[in-house]
């Protein structure tokens, strides 16, 4: 048995019991009485700021009131009306910068209504009973291809199916769910929730999923355009940005996305090798998810190294504090330079940075930290653009996800705009579906 002190990269640093405890639900589900008390704190605001702050416009005061009157199933319906992945969003939404930040109780007393946890209670209530609260409209005879079974694709597909359109989802992976299945820290989606949610969503009917089908390899956009009445692209960001570091080919460097995926897919957490000293390069949610989970796997020292200051991190303060509370060290204003031998181990050399005007430059001063394993979490890139016009590095869209090509829509992380959050992807998929429906059925152009 190895331990957190075992040098290098090693599996089995913690016992199975410790791992099971470490990877349990980040937020324990609320009990019914806690729910009543939590729900009672909602003021039922007029034109509520939380709703405005929600990318999917869930009627939060209404669903909380429905919970408070012991109608959690109705509350769940209110949520799913706007956000069919409300169950996952209740788990992964950065509520602290969305609905809960806007909550008037956050403004007045620094303690918002626990909207995320209440949403989870409602959605769990309905999904545990395996009730799908929607009935499909009669078939319209129209067919739409959705490429990518992540949050945007699933949301779009469900809304289209609901409206009586036949949907085929193509996904490059063996399982549907996208980042809900392959990304996101394991402790945010326990008990195979992502897969269960997909199965529940598909029970609307009218949706076929073709797994292991990659656009550009197994089918082309031209073909889809001719075979279907419309196409919705929600392919995500399949590529990962590479570190520019002189020793990049070193075997101890890998991308955080792959690490998180491995964690999500394994049935044996102990078998995943992890460094004694881990450094995660980046400042987003992926960096935090990778760093915290490294710690939970038994790494002794974990550091997040970010090239700008704390305020520029895209991971919220809540996420930063979550990392810190797990013992992850946050290092700001540093950029990786190279890996060096450090005795029998490796060290990462980081250079301090400064911002001149808006330009980030190295100061020349360096710091060296032990690094048996380095994860790169410096963003992902669009891997497939289908020949569509781009806006920067993403597919350019206008309105409800319309691309440069007729009858092709795009949404989620691959499309321009939005915050690359699950919840924004859901909103974009839903809104594109309504636009597609209006175009195909309503005669809009």
């Amino acid at each position: 048995m190895t331990s957190p002190m075992t040098p290098g990269i090693a599996a089995d640093r913690l016992s199975n019991e410790a791992l099971a405890q470490n990877f349990a639900d980040l937020h324990v589900a609320l009990e019914p009485h806690e729910v009543r008390v939590a729900a009672d704190r909602c003021y039922f605001c007029y034109d509520a700021p939380c709703v405005t702050a929600c990318p999917t416009d869930i009627d939060i005061p209404l669903f909380i009131r429905q919970i408070s009157t012991d109608r959690s199933e109705a509350a769940a319906k209110t949520i799913f009306d706007m956000n069919i992945l409300g169950g996952m969003c209740a788990r992964v939404c950065p509520t602290e910068v969305l609905c809960e930040q806007a909550c008037v109780r956050e403004v007045s007393e620094g303690k918002p209504v626990e909207i995320g946890r209440l949403q989870r209670y409602a959605t769990d209530t309905l999904m545990t009973k395996n009730i799908h609260p929607f009935n499909r409209a009669a078939s319209t005879g129209k067919k739409v291809a959705v490429v990518g079974a992540g949050p945007a694709g699933l949301s779009c597909a469900h809304r289209l199916a609901l409206k009586g359109i036949d949907v085929t989802i193509y996904d490059a992976r063996p399982k549907a769910g996208g980042l809900n299945e392959y990304g996101i820290a394991a402790y945010k989606s326990t008990h195979d929730f992502a897969a269960k949610e997909v199965a529940w969503l598909l029970s609307i009917g009218g949706i076929t999923i073709e797994n292991n089908k990659t656009l550009g390899v197994d089918m082309m956009l031209d073909g889809l355009s001719s075979d279907f009445d419309a196409v919705f692209l929600s392919v995500g960001l399949g590529g990962v940005n590479a570190l520019s570091m002189s020793s990049e080919d070193d075997t101890c460097v890998s991308d955080a996305v792959g690490f998180i995926e491995t964690l999500r897919q394994t049935t044996d957490l102990a078998s995943i090798p992890i460094g004694r000293n881990v450094v995660v390069i980046g400042g987003g949610m992926t960096a935090v998810d990778a760093a915290v989970q490294s710690k939970l796997l038994g790494a002794e020292q974990v550091t997040i190294a970010y090239r700008r200051g704390r305020e520029a991190m895209s991971a919220s303060r809540y996420e930063q504090d979550l990392a810190a509370s797990h013992g992850v060290k946050l290092l700001f204003n540093v950029q990786p330079v190279k890996l060096e031998a450090l005795g029998s181990s490796t060290a990462l050399v980081l250079e301090y940075t400064a911002t001149n005007d808006t330009r980030l430059t190295g100061t020349g001063e360096t710091v060296r930290i032990a690094a048996d394993q380095v994860f790169s979490a410096i963003g992902q890139t669009l891997a497939m653009d289908g020949g569509l016009a781009l806006d920067g590095r993403k597919i350019s869209v206008t309105g409800a996800g319309r691309t440069s090509r007729d009858r092709v829509w795009a949404g989620g992380d691959c499309a321009s705009g939005g915050d690359d959050l699950t919840v924004t992807a859901v909103a974009e998929g839903r809104d594109a579906a309504m636009d597609i429906y209006a175009t195909l059925i309503g005669g809009a152009n």
Binding site: H33, R36, V37, A39, Y43, F44, C45, Y46, D47
Partner: protein, 434 residues
């Protein structure tokens, strides 16, 4: 340090907090512990006539209206009078009174509406040494079906008659406990006074069904699938009780009749309010049944602190102080003009004032694009709804408009002369102001 001792009908007690006739005062064990905990007096749970005692149901006796965090807001019960033998109660009362000479011990009684029944029991009660009796003319369930309790309390002539018997066969103070389950509480109170009552106490519980089980379709508490109305008490009934107390305190026929206030007293403040409305003391039940006897300690310290702050050295100093300010609607000053003012620094922008005013009142609050809420004086009638629905205390206040300014709603110049409905030109029965 304020003096909390009270002298109610000559009955002394260390403070005005008595336990009402109810389960907490059903036996010696409880009453001794209550006195040790600090209660000033007890009204012993109602005694019935000699003979086999009443029997209670063997299923649930209570039902409750809860707040979201299980706060007991209202309590309903279907329990009857004491179900212990008369002799046992009398022995215990005798022992307790002997050991607690400085605490008030009142005996609640309910026997059939026949002179002999009262003639039989009163000497036995007198022999206990207790300080007085309270006639239970209020219990609304069970006993009333047998012609007692509220069945007597709802007929003023019976109240007067039975009170008269008690004054005839009992030498110490007689308190008549009134039921709220009537149209005008002044009538039974006046009857009690005519019968010679030394005081009235009110209110007894209110007829109530607290909930219906929507699966079994049985009112609750449910006894094998059936329910019945019970008696409602606790914080929820306080406003009803205080109104009734004030009516008796104000009515010419009963003004000056000592009152023991009952109904939802939970804190020192509740007690102070009852006393301000003319009560000589208060009786408590639900608060003790919810929190235990210790709750009286907060009541004692709270009332004492408040009295010190206000410079009241004794209960008498403020007893009835709110009665001169309790009037009829027709005498309210129609020249008093107020407007709601929203403190923008305290406002948390929830919009509840706006929703309430816009949907259900006078459309006198406007909301800006950036969720700032302000009052339109030309529409505001000062109804106070915004104040009451605002979650932030004192964020919205009603501010009196100075005399000489124009009320933009009416276009009238505000006068500081007192003027009420009796002289208002819209009143067909108006008396011309001289």
């Amino acid at each position: 340090m304020a003096d909390l001792t009270t002298d109610f009908l000559g009955i002394k007690s260390p403070n005005p907090f008595w336990l009402a006739s109810a389960p907490p005062t059903d036996k010696e064990y409880n009453v001794r512990r209550a006195f040790e905990a600090g209660w000033g007096g007890v009204v012993w749970k109602t005694l019935g006539a000699e003979g086999p005692p009443v029997v209670n149901v063997n299923g649930p006796r209570y039902g409750v209206i809860h707040g979201p965090d299980r706060r007991v807001l209202g309590l309903n019960n279907i329990e009857l009078i004491t179900d212990r033998p008369l002799g046992v109660n009398l022995e215990e009362i005798t022992r307790v009174k002997k050991d607690y000479p400085n605490h008030a011990v009142i005996v609640s009684i309910m026997v059939p509406c026949e002179e002999q029944a009262w003639k039989d029991i009163l000497p036995k009660v007198e022999a206990t040494g207790a300080d007085g009796i309270e006639l239970n003319f209020g219990c609304p369930h069970g006993m009333s079906e047998r012609g007692m309790g509220a069945a007597v309390g709802q007929v003023p002539e019976y109240i007067e008659m039975v009170t008269g018997w008690c004054k005839k066969y009992y030498s110490k103070p007689v308190i008549v406990k009134l039921t709220p389950n009537i149209t005008d509480v002044r009538s039974p109170a006046a009857a009690a006074k005519r019968g010679g009552a030394d005081a009235v106490s009110l209110i007894n519980t209110i007829n109530s069904i607290v909930s219906v089980d929507l699966d079994s379709m049985s009112p609750e508490p449910s006894i094998n699938g059936k329910g019945t109305h019970g008696g409602y008490c606790g914080p929820a009934v306080k406003p009803i009780a205080m109104s009734m107390v004030s009516e008796i305190a104000r009515a010419p026929a009963t003004a000056g009749l000592p009152i023991s206030g009952i109904g939802g007293v939970t804190t020192w403040r509740d007690a102070a309010e009852y006393i301000a409305l003319g009560c000589g003391n208060v009786q408590v039940c639900t608060a003790a049944m919810t929190y235990g006897f210790k709750v009286v300690q907060e009541m004692i310290s709270g009332l004492s602190q408040w009295m010190d702050e206000k410079g009241h050295s004794s209960i008498r100093d403020f007893m009835g102080a709110a009665i001169p300010n309790t009037t009829d609607w027709q005498y309210l000053d129609l020249n008093y003009v107020a407007k709601a003012v929203i403190n923008q620094d305290d406002c948390i922008s929830c919009g509840r004032c706006f929703a309430a005013c816009e949907d259900t009142s006078h459309q006198a609050i406007v909301m800006s694009e950036d969720r700032k809420f302000s009052v339109i004086d030309a529409e505001c009638v000062a109804c106070n709804l915004c104040v009451e629905v605002c979650p932030v205390e004192n964020c919205i206040t009603m501010v009196q408009q100075p005399a000489g300014t124009v009320d933009p709603r009416t276009g009238q110049t505000i006068s500081d002369d007192y003027a009420n409905w009796t002289t208002h030109p819209n009143n067909p029965d108006a008396v011309a102001a001289e």
